[in-house]
């Protein structure tokens, strides 16, 4: 079933983010490269979207723009009604801090900090008191079943555990969206499935999740799949054969 116009119209009221005609250009010497070309899409509360595409399709650029790490060359981007495409560096940092939770392929934990300190990091930048930071970080670590590992440093944790800490870090600010870039790329299949299961339960708890991936297996769990090719949206559909993760069921 295509994600048709009337569907979009019906949802535009409750949308979290709206991208209209987003174009991102890179200049490489004389050449101009279109990383994204006139991309438009919107996302509602509690969606579970997979952004797919081969390398060079522009999915990383799209993720960076959605994540407010990068700004579009043309087009408008609104996040919960705020015009992100017109924000300065400081305001973008604020949006990233409060509204977006990042999960990376390489986890990106601070190696010399404990799990707790890693999860606290976004709260330091939002200026929370030390007590509140700790309470909320412990809460987030509990949500990802890592409550018994809070004093461990990344090198004392397995890959799956590290990614759970990273997910806790993304959750700790109670963001509007969780943006995961190839979150299972550095994990074996079994651990990867566990992480996908975790995303699924987070979704079921009401979180909005965007996963960028090139693996069909991962994308099948999402409720909506956006396929990019050569910087353009090739397909934007409701996932017809969505799989509920067995691990997610087991978790409960």
């Amino acid at each position: 079933m295509p994600y048709n116009d009337e569907h979009r119209l019906a949802e535009s009221e409750g949308s979290i983010l709206d991208l209209k005609g987003i174009t991102r250009l890179y200049r490489m010497g004389e050449e101009t490269i279109y990383a994204l070309r006139e991309v438009s899409l919107s996302l509602s509360q509690n969606e579970y979207v997979a952004i797919m595409g081969p390398s060079g399709s522009g999915k990383s650029t799209l993720m960076n723009i959605i994540g407010c790490l990068d700004t579009p060359t043309h087009g408008s981007y609104s996040f919960e009604g705020e015009k992100v495409s017109r924000m300065n560096d400081r305001e973008l940092a604020g949006i990233r801090n409060r509204k977006i939770g990042f999960v990376f392929q390489t986890f990106n934990l601070l190696p010399r900090s404990t799990a707790l300190q890693n999860v606290e990091l976004p709260l330091i930048y939002s200026g929370e008191s030390r007590r509140k930071r700790e309470d909320r970080a412990i809460e987030a670590l509990t949500d990802v079943s890592m409550a018994d590992r809070i004093t461990h440093k990344p090198n004392e944790l397995s890959g799956g555990q590290r990614q759970r800490v990273a997910i806790a870090r993304a959750l700790v600010t109670k963001p509007s969206i969780i943006l995961a870039d190839e979150p299972t790329g550095n994990l074996d299949t079994k651990t990867g499935n566990e992480i996908i299961g975790l995303f699924e339960s987070l979704w079921e708890e009401g979180n909005t999740i965007i996963i960028v991936t090139h693996e069909e297996d991962i994308a099948t769990h999402a409720a909506r799949i956006i396929r990019l090719r050569d910087g353009e949206v090739e397909e934007d559909v409701v996932n017809p054969n969505r799989q509920v993760s067995r691990f997610a069921v087991q978790e409960r």
Binding site: N64, G67, L69, D70, D89, R90, A93, G94, R96, N97, R98, F102, F104, N108, L110, R112, S113, L121, P122, I124, Y125, S126, G127, R169, T173
Partner: protein, 428 residues
């Protein structure tokens, strides 16, 4: 302030991860701070020593003498000036109305002051008048000073300086005894307390006798110094002009003639102090500057390395909401901590030297004597140096460390703050 605190812990962690590197990097700063503190310590000690030493000359007394004591004028050209004799003194005193006291002194080095078999080398014999005691209050420890009558008669009486007394009469029973100066018998009628200071101790090595007797013994050759005391320190400056005028009149100098005498005061020594200070400052500043230049280049370098190594971390921090200023602050704090760490080592080193100054200097001397640069038994009086570093010096060192930290860290920190988060996250 909260931001600062949040930055200190990770900065500590980052530095602790590379202890060896951090220590080596701060070497320049360590040396710099070491010099700053050492210099401050020495200057402080010198200042104290100078003020104490020269306070003895009095802030309300002029010394009119053949020579300028400041050393500003060529010594050789002053040699041909006429000496001041007692006749000129008498005329001067008669006309010098603005002064409270006008007292002559004449001095001679004497190797011939003896009591029984004891003979003193290198002491001084001073001739003066009975007014000397009134001019310098607190000049008597025991006994009495000579009277006007004894002065006029040229009686054989002597008042002993502190060291002379101690050396000739270890038991302290000098009063009433007879000593010999240049073979002449003198009765000890008084003893002076210790008046000398570190730099000016000749005063304790002198024996005071009536000036009339002095010229009897030593002949007319020694010149007189006229000690002129103002009624208050504030009037010293005015009195100086009066004294110059009177002295010129006494010597009948024509208006176009230069003064052929010196009018000296305690103030002249401050010039001497300033020169010494200047030399210490100059050397210290040069070495400190050099050390800090090397030190800050080292720190800047290591901060660049630190930024490069943690590019990915910077990307992550930006992704989770760190603004540019937070990143800037983080690396600036790290650089400042690095410098403060260096300052701390420098402080410990300097404190050790200050605490064990005597051992350090005697060690240096024996080292120098090994290569023949010093006599093995040389002793140095270090009492003018305190055995701790003054708090103000420590404060200055801390401020300097922070300034160097900011200067060395600002460019790397700025570069870190400007990193593009997408690029930074992609870094390995």
């Amino acid at each position: 302030m909260v931001q600062l605190r949040e930055n200190i812990r990770p900065a500590f962690r980052a530095l602790a991860a590379n202890k060896m590197r951090a220590t080596l990097t701060t070497l320049g700063v360590v040396i710099g701070i070491f010099f700053v503190l050492l210099m401050g310590w020495v200057l402080n000690g010198l200042d104290q020593a100078f003020t104490q030493s020269f306070a003895f000359f009095g802030d309300d007394i002029l010394y009119i003498d053949k020579y300028d004591w400041s050393g500003q004028t060529d010594w050789m050209s002053q040699r041909n000036r006429p000496k001041i004799d007692m006749l000129q003194y008498d005329r001067f005193k008669e006309r010098m109305l603005g002064a409270e006291y006008v007292v002559p002194t004449a001095d001679r080095f004497s190797s011939d002051v003896r009591y029984g078999d004891l003979q003193l080398q290198g002491t001084m014999v001073y001739g003066t008048t009975s007014e000397y005691r009134d001019m310098y209050s607190g000049v008597m420890a025991e006994g009495r000073f000579f009277t006007e009558a004894e002065n006029d008669l040229g009686t054989n009486v002597v008042v002993l300086g502190h060291n002379v007394h101690e050396n000739l009469f270890p038991k302290g029973d000098a009063l009433g005894r007879t000593i010999r100066i240049k073979g002449q018998p003198f009765t000890v009628i008084g003893v002076m307390p210790k008046r000398g200071t570190m730099l000016v101790d000749f005063i304790d090595n002198m024996s005071l006798i009536p000036i009339k007797r002095f010229f009897n013994i030593y002949g007319p050759r020694p010149g007189v110094t006229i000690n002129v005391k103002a009624k208050s320190p504030e009037e010293l400056e005015n009195m100086k002009y009066e004294a110059i005028g009177v002295m010129r009149a006494v010597r009948s100098l024509a208006p176009e003639d230069d003064d052929n005498f010196g009018v000296n005061s305690q103030e002249m020594f401050s010039q001497f102090i300033d020169i010494t200070r200047g030399v210490v400052w100059g050397i210290g500043l040069f070495m400190t500057g050099l050390a800090f230049l090397v030190g800050s280049i080292g720190i800047m370098n290591i901060m660049f390395v630190s930024v490069a190594e943690r590019t990915k971390e910077i990307g992550l921090r930006k992704a989770v909401g760190a603004t540019r200023s937070r990143i800037l602050l983080q690396f600036l704090v790290e650089s400042i901590l690095l410098c403060l760490f260096g300052a701390m080592i420098g402080l410990v080193l300097t404190s050790l030297i200050a605490g064990f100054k005597d051992q350090v200097v005697s060690g240096l001397i024996s080292l120098l004597s090994l290569v023949g640069l010093a006599e093995a038994d040389t002793t140095v009086n270090l009492s003018f140096l305190s055995s701790t570093i003054p708090a103000t010096q420590i404060l200055i060192a801390v401020v300097v460390a922070v300034v160097v930290g900011v200067m060395a860290g600002i460019i790397p920190a700025f570069r870190a703050s400007r990193l593009d988060p997408v690029e930074a996250l992609r870094a390995e």
